[in-house]
Assembly symmetry: C2
Homo-oligomer: 157 residues x 2
DNA sequence: ATACTTGCAAATGATTTGCCAGTGT
DNA sequence: ACACTGGCAAATCATTTGCAAGTAT
């Protein structure tokens, strides 16, 4: 990744805080920038560029703002199944994800919640697992109960 | 050519066994089909369509054969990082994968090897994890030792 | 003989890039 | 003013699809 200036935990209570921080850091704030942040702030989980577009934005502009905000550590994205990337605000620390291949639900977790899993993987394979960019896939409890039969998978192909 | 008496569904010792099984099941075997299977058989891990093409095949034909073979349970594919899908022969049971975001190495595991991880996830979240189609990402021991510094990631973006 | 496959071209979907006009500071 | 940003078109990349011609059984 490219530059990484000030690594302070861009945490905040609202979009205004982020905008102020950005300006103070010498970054420009345009209408799309504000709208993207507001949409991300309003969302209760990672959302797609398509959803951001519906806020009345140009797709390219959304991508460029997300890219910029991600480089600044304000935004991050996850790859869920075969779908497009899903973006979310980085609130304090990186979040990690669990997703269901059948119902598509994405569960956001505090990294500490997966320390147990990480420990097992490190012990067994010396692997340092991270589930913030590529989540843990599988079936959530509810969907698993509906039988292991073939149903309307969200992740075919 | 060996005779493989005990294996289950479409397990086998060589490409000839697979071809025979396919024909017996009423499927057609063409040159591309044979070449794709031979390339997959020769590979020691999941490989890309690009690599299969270098065996002198049409890209579209490779995709269609893989799709067909996958539907028959003979082939499966994994999504590693941001790269293209990687295909491998299904030898007996599904394999699961671990991959390093920095060096790109893909480690193939017997599903049982991840039962410990699966147990923790099931206990904590009621989640039934599967790492056969979407592997566990992170850093392998070797790459992690090289420091958590920013280097040549294979999974930027 | 006939249904299934191939090969090539064109379509799709997600994301990126080029370029020039517009604008935040 | 001037560098950074937005908008729009065109380019990539991986993968899929349409269709005419070829072929396995």
């Amino acid at each position: 990744v490219t530059t990484a200036p000030d690594r302070r935990p861009l945490a905040f209570a609202g979009v205004d805080e982020i905008l102020a921080t950005l300006r103070e850091s010498g970054h420009r704030v345009s209408a799309p920038t504000t709208l993207v942040l507001e949409a991300l702030f309003a969302a209760d989980g990672p959302i797609s560029v398509e959803e951001l577009e519906s806020a009345g934005l140009e797709r390219t502009s959304v991508y460029r703002n997300l890219e910029r905000l991600e480089a600044l550590g304000v935004v991050s994205h996850v790859h869920v199944g075969h779908g497009p990337g899903l973006y979310a605000l980085v609130r304090g620390a990186d979040r990690e994800y669990l997703t269901c291949d059948r119902c598509g639900r994405v569960t956001t977790l505090d990294p500490a919640a997966l320390d147990g899993v990480r420990a097992v993987l490190h012990e067994q394979f010396g692997h340092h697992a991270r589930f913030s960019h590529f989540p843990i896939h599988g079936l959530c409890g509810r969907c698993a109960e509906l039988g292991d039969h073939e149903h309307g998978h969200t992740h075919p192909h």
